[in-house]
């Protein structure tokens, strides 16, 4: 008989998520995800000035900070047909790349590594052996035995206080934990180091964006950073050089630590390359525009149906109708009234709570579809698209990560392993390398542009009488983000966000095809239903961000039939 478990709250994510699974024969057979918080930001936006919508939308999420701001200004600019000065594009691009790098590092080390790494086990490791192992894997300068010993002492001291704090609830000693104490110690060491490097790359965001989380340098029409190399109160040479030195430091961490750790852990959990494939229609959008209109890009994006890279269709610009016209949202299995498969511009959000019906309506998250099919979004989708487009930095980074993993695992691991729970982590590490290449290029472009005497950063928006509409697309750290805005007489009439977590956490669509979470959980082994670590592994690999996903929540409390009492 199927055993039903409830995990609420799902931790180490943004927002409030509740996951329910049916477990049959030690594997997940069915899954449901439910967001448990609604804030009504789209409602709040109605009637507001489109020039400040980004201030509001950015607060949708403090982890995917910046991304909703970027998508918002792009949506309004798209509606106006407004061009953006090159300096503004480069500054935005540097912020996007830096934020994504930060997000990937923190996701791996601080939000998901504890699913794979047993911190307590690290206290039993031989620090010298661990250091030797690390040095064989990487030229990283902070892998000395002394540093490993310090980390271990620190952990021991911490554990011996008996106050384990956030680590108290960990799955220490769980049967699914397979790393040796030495590898655990190496990962723990890097857990702490990653805290330093995320701080460094965040500084890039802070220098340009005023602060982070929630940057405050954007404007519909450009950025608020004035450029004048001969004035004190602007983006000075000192600020720019500071950015460059931070970029360089973090570059070493990505290539010498992050990518190697992911490859190593992936190789050691090679069985997990077989779990969590889920939906294999991949959608991503191009990013890092290289002109004022958003028609040429540094990284490509597009659609890959059924993991067939040869059928890749590239999305060519911010106005590409292939993207704008082919998205619909299914509400067959979501608690909404009205017509299903509507385009986001026409999106309705009239609630229709029916109670939980396994085969009927069961979620507050809509099911977006591309060309009528569910699609997986995120770094994996993006990496596969760039790979399919033959994007050289992607090919280089992917080859590197796969080669390292192959050599550790002792077998050849090809790109096909990417369609898995571990594959999503690997793709994130590959993308992080690509992003570092991007941020360097963007930095150089910005310097060159300023050097050419172009100091423009802003084109003032002018709102016409009547109704206009636009979409802002953005390849965010968690995947395709799109904001859809309808503006009437200079005021927001309707605002819809189709966000990465909606794509991935969505329920079954009109054709009863499951969403990516549900599909990926299918078949995931659960050794101990009381401690469903494996469920967390797969869910965490998507990097869920629930605050973004929930558009509306039930005014009446959701009551679930609980098979087990494990709440």
């Amino acid at each position: 008989m199927a055993k039903r478990i409830v995990v609420d709250p799902i931790t180490r994510i943004e927002g409030h998520l509740r996951i329910e699974c049916e477990i049959e024969n030690g594997h997940v057979s069915k899954a449901w995800s439910s967001g448990t918080m609604w804030r009504g930001i789209e409602l709040i936006l109605q009637g507001k000035d489109p020039r400040e919508a980004w201030i509001y939308t950015q607060r949708i999420c403090g982890v995917c900070t910046t991304v909703h701001a970027i998508a918002s200004v792009r949506a309004v600019e798209n509606a106006l047909g407004l061009e953006i000065p090159m300096n503004a594009q480069h500054i935005r691009n540097i912020i996007i790349a830096a934020h994504s790098i930060f997000d990937h590092i923190v996701h791996f080390y601080h939000l998901s590594a504890l699913d794979w790494v047993d911190i307590v086990s690290a206290t039993k490791a031989d620090a010298k052996a661990a250091a030797k192992l690390a040095e064989t894997l990487s030229p990283w300068k902070h892998n000395s035995a002394r540093e490993f010993q310090e980390t271990q002492d620190r952990l021991k001291k911490f554990i011996s206080t008996g106050q384990l704090g956030v680590f108290a609830s960990g799955y220490w000693g769980h049967p699914a934990m397979k790393l040796t104490p030495e590898v655990n110690l190496m990962a723990a060491n890097h857990y702490f180091q990653a805290l330093d490097y995320q701080r460094k790359i965040n500084k890039v965001v802070a220098i340009l964006g005023s602060k982070t989380p929630h940057i405050q340098n954007l404007a519909v029409g450009g950025v608020a950073n004035p450029i004048n190399p001969d004035s004190q109160s602007t983006l000075t040479i000192e600020r720019l050089v500071y950015i460059k030195s931070l970029i360089d430091e973090v570059g070493d961490f990505i290539s010498d630590v992050y990518q190697i750790d992911v490859a190593a852990i992936g190789a050691m959990y090679a069985d997990w390359t077989g779990y969590g494939e889920g939906i294999t229609n991949y959608l991503s959008v191009p990013e890092f525009p290289q002109d004022t209109k958003g028609e040429t890009f540094l990284t490509p994006g597009g659609y890959i149906p059924s993991k067939n890279l040869s059928k890749f269709v590239e999305i060519k610009s911010f106005h590409d109708p292939y993207f704008e016209d082919n998205i619909t949202e299914s509400i067959k299995h979501a608690y909404y009234k009205g017509e299903s498969n509507l385009h986001p511009y026409k999106g309705e959000t009239e609630p229709n709570f029916t109670g939980f019906e396994d085969d009927g309506k069961y979620s507050w998250v809509k099911a977006p579809t591309f060309l009528g099919k569910p699609a997986q979004v995120g770094p994996l989708a993006n990496v596969l698209a760039m790979f399919a487009a033959g994007h050289p930095p992607t090919v280089d980074n992917a080859t590197r990560v796969l080669n390292i993993a192959s050599s550790i695992a002792g077998t050849t691991l090809g790109p096909e392993i990417l369609h898995s729970t571990i594959g999503r982590h690997a793709a994130r590490a590959v993308r992080c390398g690509v992003l570092h290449d991007v941020i360097n290029k963007e930095y150089n472009s910005l310097i060159a542009n300023i050097g050419s005497g172009d100091y423009d950063t802003f084109n003032a928006p002018v709102f016409p009488k009547g109704e206009i509409q636009g979409v802002g697309m953005h390849e965010a750290p968690r995947g395709v983000l799109s904001h859809w805005v309808i503006i009437k007489d200079g005021q927001i009439k309707n605002y819809q966000c189709v966000v990465p977590s909606t794509w991935n956490a969505g329920p079954r669509n009109d054709n009863d095809e499951p969403g990516p979470y549900e599909a990926a959980l299918h078949g995931t082994p659960v050794a101990d239903p009381e401690n469903p670590l494996e469920v967390l592994r797969t869910i965490h690999s998507f990097d869920p961000c629930l605050a973004c996903a929930i558009h509306l929540y039930d005014p009446n409390r959701t009551e679930l039939t609980q098979v087990t009492t494990n709440v």
């Binding site: 709250p9 180490r12 607060r59 029409g221």
Partner: protein, 365 residues
């Protein structure tokens, strides 16, 4: 004082029970039972103050800010300074496991732990708009709040509702002080607040064993005692009447005051201009980079007054440039006044002329 007495006094249990507890703890953590004496020693030694961190209607931005400071770093904070017993974004375990640890900590540390609340509390429709662990968040706050030694509302959402409380406030979002009316709830508004303001408050409490001095909205004076306008690096430009008129214009590139772009510095209490963000040095705050402040720390300003709407100067101070010797006052001539004057003179002259004419004609008759 003997160890036994300490144990009895602190924990209210016998030594034997206590050692049993330590062994169980060690096993629970996946350690040998041989860790028990060490744990026992640690527990009877100075304990790190427990902190329970709850999330309501929020975006996790406030938690994110803790990743930015280097004094203390997040790891130093949670490994050495406090015992962060529950925090959804950082908990190693999930669901049931995490909840259990939280409830245990609250039980053991009643009246001793610091409660940090991030996010607003929706109260409309019984608080269903935010539920954690199957329970409306407002109920959780009401239940745990009174058991804490100190309650800190981090961020504008927890302080007064923040963004979701913006009109039309669809979920009835409000701040923690409005829920825990019987207690002093320290508020650290900001969207997100500067992590240093939060950390300083916590460390103030740990160091001096009392809450910092607060203003009328329960904000620590050390961080919110002055208007942004009073410490702003662009203030001299304001005083001298030098303003940026648009992003990227000549004034903007010379670092002029952003008041005319809608900067809310004159009505917002915060230390942004002097504390700065993310430890990157000069100019690392919104006004420093060239964007107007939108008043995120001030209830009724942030998410309330439109971004480009100019703030009202409540306490004007002299401008840097005194007025000229003679200021030509504006002309007071209005069309209505001139019309009236003209009409009055016209009527008088006309009447006189008519009368004169009549007099003449009668005279000639």
């Amino acid at each position: 004082m003997r160890e036994r007495d300490i144990i009895t006094q602190r924990l209210g249990i016998s030594r034997r029970d206590f050692m049993k507890f330590c062994s169980a703890t060690a096993v629970a953590m996946g350690l040998d039972a041989s860790f028990a004496p060490q744990i026992a020693q640690a527990i009877t030694a100075a304990r790190r103050p427990p902190v329970i961190w709850l999330h309501g209607q929020e975006c996790t931005g406030c938690t994110e800010t803790l990743l930015r400071p280097s004094h203390p770093t997040l790891d130093h904070l949670i490994l050495d300074l406090i015992s962060l017993d529950y925090h959804e974004t950082l908990c190693a375990g999930g669901g049931h496991q995490a909840e259990q640890v939280m409830h245990q900590s609250i039980k053991e540390n009643e009246g001793k732990f610091i409660l940090v609340i991030e996010g607003a509390v929706p109260v409309k429709d019984g608080g269903v708009y935010c539920q954690v662990g199957g329970k409306p968040f407002v109920d959780t706050v009401r239940e745990i709040g009174p058991k804490a030694a100190a309650v800190i509302a981090i961020g504008s959402c927890a302080s007064w509702g923040g963004i979701q409380a913006a009109a039309p406030n669809p979920t009835g979002a409000t701040g923690v002080p409005a829920i825990l009316k019987e207690q002093t709830v320290v508020t650290i508004p900001g969207c997100p607040p500067n992590a240093q303001n939060f950390l300083s408050t916590v460390i103030y409490f740990l160091t001096f064993n009392k809450l910092p001095a607060l203003d009328s909205k329960n904000r620590p004076l050390f961080a919110y005692g002055r208007l942004i306008h009073e410490n702003c690096e662009r203030r001299p430009h304001f005083d001298a009447g030098r303003f940026a008129g648009a992003f990227g214009d000549a004034g903007h590139r010379l670092g002029y005051c952003l008041f005319k772009l809608g900067c809310k510095g004159p009505v917002t209490h915060a230390n942004c201009p002097i504390q700065l963000f993310c430890e990157v040095g000069s100019g690392a705050w919104p006004v420093g980079t060239g964007h107007p402040c939108f008043g995120c720390t001030e209830e009724g300003v942030g998410f309330n007054t439109p971004l480009f709407t100019q703030a009202k100067i409540t306490i004007p101070t002299p401008a840097a440039t005194p007025p000229p010797i003679t200021t030509e006052q504006e002309s007071q001539v209005t069309p209505l006044a001139t019309t009236l004057t003209g009409a009055a003179v016209g009527v008088a002259v006309g009447a006189a002329m008519m009368a004169g004419k009549k007099a003449t004609s009668e005279d000639e008759e």
